[in-house]
Structure formats: structure tokens, C-alpha cells
Amino acid sequence: MCLGIPGEIVEILPDRPDLARVNVSGVRRAINVGLLEADPPRPGDWVLIHVGFALSKIDEEEAAAVSRYLEELGQAYTDEIDALSQSMIE
């Protein structure tokens, strides 16, 4: 729950500018991007996600570094991805 996980914005949901579909290590889910409304992310951008909310934009290099770091954490990251894949944000 404390982990910030990087995800790539796939699309902003039609009629819901506060929601975006992201790709996190192959898992595609909707997250809320309302906290970034001052500088909204676009498809292709990377964001750091906490409990279903994008908290900051990051560049691709940082996303790759964070992903590598998280993969090394092992179980804690697997649990987080499992939790995300159960998520049904709408």
C-alpha cells in the first residue's frame, strides 16, 4: 500500500477526464488522475500510482528504474500487482 508503482497511461476514459486506463507490468486497469489536473497526463506518459491514484508524473527512465527496484522487492510487489488486478475503479 505504501509502494508507488509506475504505470503508462494507455488512454483517458471517454467522458471521464479524471480516469485513465494504465498499463502496469502488463496489467491494465483504470486509475484516477484527478490529482494531476494541473498538468494532466496524456497517453504514453508515465505516472507513479498510489492506491489507485496517480500522484506524480515521472519520465520513462525513472519509471524503468522504479520498476526494476520493485521487481527486486519480490513478494511485496507481486502482492501490490495482485491487488491492482482485483481493482475495479470506475
Partner: protein
Amino acid sequence: MRFVDEYRDADTARALGARIAELCEPGREYQFMEVCGGHTHTIYKHGIADHLPEQVSLVHGPGCPVCVIPMGRVDDAIHIASRPDVIMTSFGDMMRVPGSDNTFFDSNAEGTDIRMVYSPLDSLKIARQNPDKHVVFMAIGFETTAPSTAMTLLRAEEEGLDNFSVFCNHVTIVPGIKAILDSPDLRLDGFLGPGHVSTVIGCRPYEFIAAEYGKPLVVAGFEPLDLLQSVHHLMLQLAEGRCAVENQYSRVVPWQGNPVALEAINRTMRLRPYFEWRGLGFISHSAMRLRDDYARFDAERIFDLPGVRVADPKACQCGEVLKGVLKPWECKVFGTACTPETPIGTCMVSPEGACAAYYNFGRFTRERIRDATATASATAPATTATANTGGRG
């Protein structure tokens, strides 16, 4: 795995270790506290201590929000969940936190419906799907998760949901740090500031630590090199007689934080006069509750709570671990009565807790130390490879 393989840039790590060693004044011991549980995790996982000279040690702070939840709040949550019309929702990390009788898992075996969710927004969905039930979200976390709860409340308000509420246990990091600074047991030379919390609050709230307490603080990223670099920045400040807040993690943390997130928190929550932190006791203005405008979403006002203060189990030394006075392995029940499978204290529950991090990775640290010592005697100069084995069980 050899310790050098784990680093993206082993040479940089070694060079940083050497530069830190050069900055040490002879005979002086340096203690820095890492406030964030994510840092604790990295420190054990990657054996950061192996790269630091013996004079420099890292002390774990209270930065794991699961670890600071007092038992009484777990009991209160179970009390709410025991009503037949309630579905309680919570992050997975909370499920095994012991209350005075039960964890959430145990309590479910006795008939409550406490569900794990990934996001507070998932709780909203459960509320929409179960109009005949009342869905409570057990909100925990520092300023990293508080904006999510706040945004969820704003959404519930917009939708006019009337079967959703929040049991708010959000804590704020700065009063926790202040309590540590005011505690007489500990002498610290500086802080590694939390990375993700700071993406929300920015760096300014730490300025009093430098200004009033004369301690430097460096907001640090989560990778091994981030931590070593941040320790180096702290050492440079001390060597130059400076004391300031610096941002090593500026590639993610903006100096002013995230104003939208702060505004959402501020709209829906206000500071409590005081709140109990496990092991640290009551700390003024250290937690949030819902504002009066959001009373109809406030589980504390909707349900009658026992609100009983429960003393921590006698065997538990989490308080000392949270304050950095004891190392995890120095607790009498560590690894015997208290393990991640059967935690007595909260520091053993969350992967970010100091005891769980050490339990899971401390073993590797010891193996690394052995490897490093063997390699060191064969090849490397002693300053960079000498492992800090002091006190390691």
C-alpha cells in the same frame, strides 16, 4: 547473489561509500534516521550498511503507517465490522494487524465481512453494489494515501452515496518526526526524508527541523544509490557546518508538493488535537479526522465506538523499534514468538515495518557480509568493503 551484482552501478556505490568515509571526523559517530518504511526496506534488502563506514549508522523511524496504528483502533474497526449491516474494507496490509483479541482475518472467521481493497475507490464500488449494506473504508496512511481518501470522499459526495463512510486513521509525518526529536533517548545527526510523502507535502514542512533543531534533512529516493547519495549529502552538510533541507529526489518530488492533493485533504479533513501512535503514545496534531461538513461520511460519528485505549502487549518492544532506540533483532521476541506469520507487534506485519524487513532480508545481509568480508580480504581495500557487523545477531 553477491552484493555487488545487486547494484546498477556498483562502482558508484563504492565511490560514495568511500567519500562518506572521508567525511567522517575521527572518533565521531554519526546516526541518521530514515523516516520512511520504504527506505528501511531498501536498506535491509540491499545491505546499505555494508557500504557505510562503521562510524555511520542508520536508525529506523516511525514511517510505516501500519506500524503506528494503535491496537485500540483495530478493536474499534472490528467493533464497527461486527454489525451485520456493515461491510468493512481495508488495504491488505491491515488484515493481519493484531487488535487486543483479533486481527481482521480472525474476525472474518468469526463472521465479519472485512474485505481487502486496492484503492478507496474500490470501496465506493462495493457501496454502489450493496445498497442494503453500509460500507466503511478503514483509511490508514500518511500524506501519501490521505489524498486518495479525500478524493474518494469528494466523489461519494458528488454521487450522493448514503451508505459509505470512512474510518479515518490518517497520520501526518511531521509531528511524528518532532516527537522523535523531542524524545530524550535518541541522539540523531540528521534525517533521510520520506520520498513519496514529500510528493504530496513538498519539502517546506521540514524546514523547522533544520531551523529549530539544527538537524539537516535530505529527501531521498528509494534506490540503493539514492540512499547512499543522500547520506553523502547529509555528511557534506555536517562537514561544511551547514544545516538545511535538501531534495535528492527532485526527479519525482516537487519542492512545493502537490497543491491539488493538499487542497483535497484540506477540504475534507482537519487535524485532530491529538492521536495515539503505537509505541510513541499521544502526539499533538498528528492525525486527521473528517471535517464537520463531511460528518455524514464519518464512521466515527455514525457508529458508537468503544474507543478504549489498549496497552501494547508486554513482550512487544515496537515502541523502541519505532523510535529507533532498539534494532529489530534486539527485541526479545523477534523471530521466535514474533514472526511475519504470527506477529505480536505491528512492525512485523507490513513489509515496510522494520522487523519484517529485517526478518525477510536480514539473513541475506549477513550472507552478504560474509561474502564481502571474504572478497575484501582477497581484493578490495578495507575501507570500502568492511561490513558493519556490530550488533547483528
